[in-house]
């Protein structure tokens, strides 16, 4: 029962893209016939630098991973070619060796800088240290790099240089664009950048996506360095250094991150413009450059391309997805994970959780069978949300064991748990606010655990493509989150106060919707809820949590009549 998205899926390469690609190809083919040799040489350099900027943009613009030492990778490629040439080894071999080394270094740096314990600043420190280390290394390792004098790389001539550079850059960009940016990687990168947390609970590892982006970005930068080496003519330690690293940040920021045209424009305008500006106003041009740069950062945050596209009307959805294709026929016909026969949906044993010395969850045992609807109630501070977080993997328990669908997931990351079919909704709806509702749905479907038929009431979002999710009312955001979570096809769903802020009628409608989801799709639901009417409507069983312990378990009526529950809610009178 494959479900197709109602809106027509966007092709990977649309007509307008063919137009742009062929125009670029024609421009590259024609440039040497139009341009005199010096502007052509500058253009060649700008193209190679543009590829470098494109590389940085793959991590910064697409996945939000900042590297302030990216020239280390660029220089590695340039040195690979230069050192190979100097020692009579084919340059291609040098480039390949550099690419391999670069991938290894980027993988290590990415794992450290983007790992679970890393802060936003960790990546900044490591990449800065990396570029400084590389520059110093190139300066001191005389036998390999010829120190500060650098290594000469012969040029095959301006026109040959241009065509080799142009064709390679064109191919690399086109292939990466078609295969990755318009594919699964592009979609996931956008999702991770917009909402890491939501993406994680849809079964996509943010760290893996970001590390992939960083490694890819390092590889492209290395390729750019290898291509640029004969154009630069001389590869010296500055090629790997901090100045070059900041230059590329400037190109991307000035041109406009997240756009291919933007990064090439940024590299081109700064590289070529610098030369002509320098000729025109002499030594003052750096000062002017500084001022212009501040103005761009302050008044044109999305760069030159941002200014241009701001003047032209674009459809909301096209602007939102930033060139990624969100929709995909991703949902498998069979669920990605089949739980063992007789496995409980969730089994929590002897789980404790303390923040510092304060215990929040104090030895909880709880089993939820597949297909059940269980409501979790309790006074404020009872630890309800904490318990959901422990099950979903947002928090690690201090001690105890958590099983989901028969697997011991105690030490698993949230996205791994999601892979078992565990869906999650939050107290404050967690969506992709900068995508349209239809794109939110499309992403959930693209990453789906299994294909499901959505009730019409939830499916209405799939066609809503002309506003952003952030423009929806709170109630609609809540419904959208539920729609996404269900469209994703979960086995077990954790919900945190889904009815908060809804009118009484709406809450009851929601409750009956959830019951029908449970009936039609067989989803197991674990719901934290305050509204007793909803609990009564919804729950097969009610679990009362107080002071981090399970107080009692039973039907609504049993629970309500329990003395301890009254005491817990009303306080010891």
């Amino acid at each position: 029962m494959r479900v197709t998205s109602p809106s027509r899926p966007e092709p990977r390469v649309a007509t307008r893209h063919w137009v742009a690609l062929s125009a670029a190809a024609v421009a590259i083919a024609a440039a040497p016939f139009v341009l005199p040799s010096y502007p052509l040489a500058l253009l060649t350099l700008a193209l190679a630098y543009g590829l470098f900027a494109f590389g940085l943009d793959l991590s910064w613009g697409r996945a939000g991973v900042v590297s302030i030492g990216h020239a280390a990778f660029f220089g590695l490629g340039a040195y690979g070619v230069a050192i190979a040439g100097q020692n009579g080894v084919p340059q291609l071999l040098g480039a390949v060796a550099a690419l391999v080394l670069s991938a290894v270094v980027a993988l290590i740096v990415g794992r450290i800088g983007l790992g679970p314990r890393a802060l936003a600043s960790t990546m900044a420190v490591i990449t800065l240290a990396l570029t400084l280390l590389a520059e110093q290394g190139a300066r001191s390792w005389l036998s390999l790099t010829n120190g500060s004098n650098g290594i000469y790389v012969p040029s095959p001539g301006v026109v040959t240089n241009f065509y080799v550079t142009g064709i390679l850059v064109f191919l690399i960009v086109a292939v990466i664009w078609v295969v990755l940016l318009r594919g699964r990687f592009g979609r996931r990168a956008v999702a991770v950048r917009f909402n890491e947390h939501r993406t994680e609970h849809l079964g996509v590892s943010p760290m893996r996506t970001k590390v992939t982006a960083f490694v890819l970005s390092a590889l492209v930068a290395t390729a750019a360095g290898a291509i640029a080496a004969p154009v630069m003519g001389l590869v010296s330690p500055a090629t790997l250094g901090i100045v070059m690293s900041t230059q590329v940040l400037v190109w991307v920021a000035v041109g406009g991150k997240g756009t291919i045209f933007g990064v090439f424009l940024g590299a081109g305008v700064v590289t070529i413009g610098q030369q002509y500006l320098g000729d025109a106003i002499g030594a003052w041009y750096l000062l002017v450059l500084g001022v212009v740069f501040i103005l761009v950062v302050k008044f044109a945050p999305s760069g030159l391309v941002g200014i241009a596209s701001g003047l032209l009307r674009r459809s909301v959805s096209r602007a939102a997805s930033q060139g990624a294709v969100i929709a995909s026929n991703g949902a498998p016909d069979a669920p990605k994970h089949i739980p063992a026969e007789g496995a409980a949906a969730v089994r929590v044993s002897q789980v404790q959780k303390s923040f510092g010395p304060v215990p929040i969850i104090n030895g909880v045992d709880l089993t939820i069978q597949r297909g059940e609807v269980v409501c979790l109630i309790g006074p404020n501070g009872a630890g309800k949300t904490t318990l959901l977080n422990l099950i979903a993997g947002d928090l690690a328990p201090t001690s105890g064991r958590i099983e989901v669908l028969g697997e011991d997931v105690t030490n698993w990351a949230p996205h791994r748990r999601a892979h078992l079919g565990l869906g999650r909704l939050f107290q404050v709806p967690s969506l992709y606010p900068d995508l349209t509702p239809a794109q939110n749905m499309a992403f959930a479907r693209a990453e789906a655990f299994r294909a499901v038929e959505l009730p019409a009431e939830l499916d209405r979002f799939s066609a809503m493509d002309d506003l952003l999710a952030s423009d929806l009312s709170l109630a609609d955001q809540r419904s959208l989150e539920l729609a996404m979570a269900i469209a994703w096809g979960p086995e077990v769903v954790l919900l945190d106060e889904p009815a908060a802020g809804l009118s009484h009628e709406d809450s009851l409608r929601l409750a009956s919707l959830m019951r029908s989801l449970n009936g039609q799709l067989g989803c197991t639901l674990l719901v934290v809820e305050h509204d007793m009417d909803i609990v009564r409507e919804l729950a097969d069983r009610v679990v009362v949590l107080a002071n981090g312990r399970v107080l009692t378990v039973g039907t609504m009526d049993e629970v309500v009549s329990h003395d301890d529950v009254r005491t817990a809610y009303l306080g010891a009178v």
């Binding site: 314990r117 400084l132 280390l133 000062l287 501040i294």
Partner: protein, 296 residues
Amino acid sequence: MDAVVTLALSVFTLFGFYALLAVGMGLIFGQLGVVNVAHGELVMVGAFVMFALADVPFLPRLLLAVLIGLVLGVVIERLVLSNLYERGFLATLLAMWGVSIVLREGANAIFGSTPASVRAPIQENIEILGVSYPLYRLIIAVVALAIVAAVLLVTYRTKLGLVVRATVDNRDMASVLGIPPRLVVTGTFAVGAMLAVLAGALQSPLLGVTPMVGAAFLAPAFFAVLLGRAGSLPGAIFGAFVVALLSTVLRTYLNETLAQVVLFALLIVLVAVRPNGIDWRKVQWKPRTQPAQVAA
């Protein structure tokens, strides 16, 4: 023995300078979330102030440098940074990068690039445990550390510090309490910038003063701030100590080029092992931000 004493004195003097840099940068980073990549250029400004006003006696000249630092800080914050904070740390980082170019090229236009120097007010050497050491270096290290201590005291032990910290945690709440957050933000940046200018002024008699001189100070300050626990001021100072110690010890016992390579490699390893920052105690300004959705 002499070697150990000299090493200890070198670490101490460098620590004083780096601590002053790190506390300014840490203040700006911890409070405003701005990675001040123009910190080195502010140091350069301080050194040039001391050079340009060479006719004024040393102490009043220092005061003038402080004043100029404050004014410069206010101007930069108001003209460049205001309204940029919401756009995240990269926007402010890039803007400060632009500021660093403007300051550097401005100095180049005014003073040219010939290295200038500033006369130290004290030329004597002092005998410490049998080692002769320039007195001026020791004095500025002590002065720098005293200023660092004062900044810490004000931040953690006074009402003013509370206000500053409160503003960062919750701007709306602070404005309800009658504190204009804009003033606090501008003031914080101005003080951070002033500390850098002052550091440059104090250090100027040891330097060859050129528009480029600031570049050398950015990396150590940056590493110091980010090695410490994020947003923590004592962490930044501890980071400054680690950087000063590592750099001096490595440069004393290894040759200069190897020392640099080992230093950068060690910093990468340190960050890899302790990505949350090295800190000898758990002083934190801001709790580690949990994603909002998870908050109970």
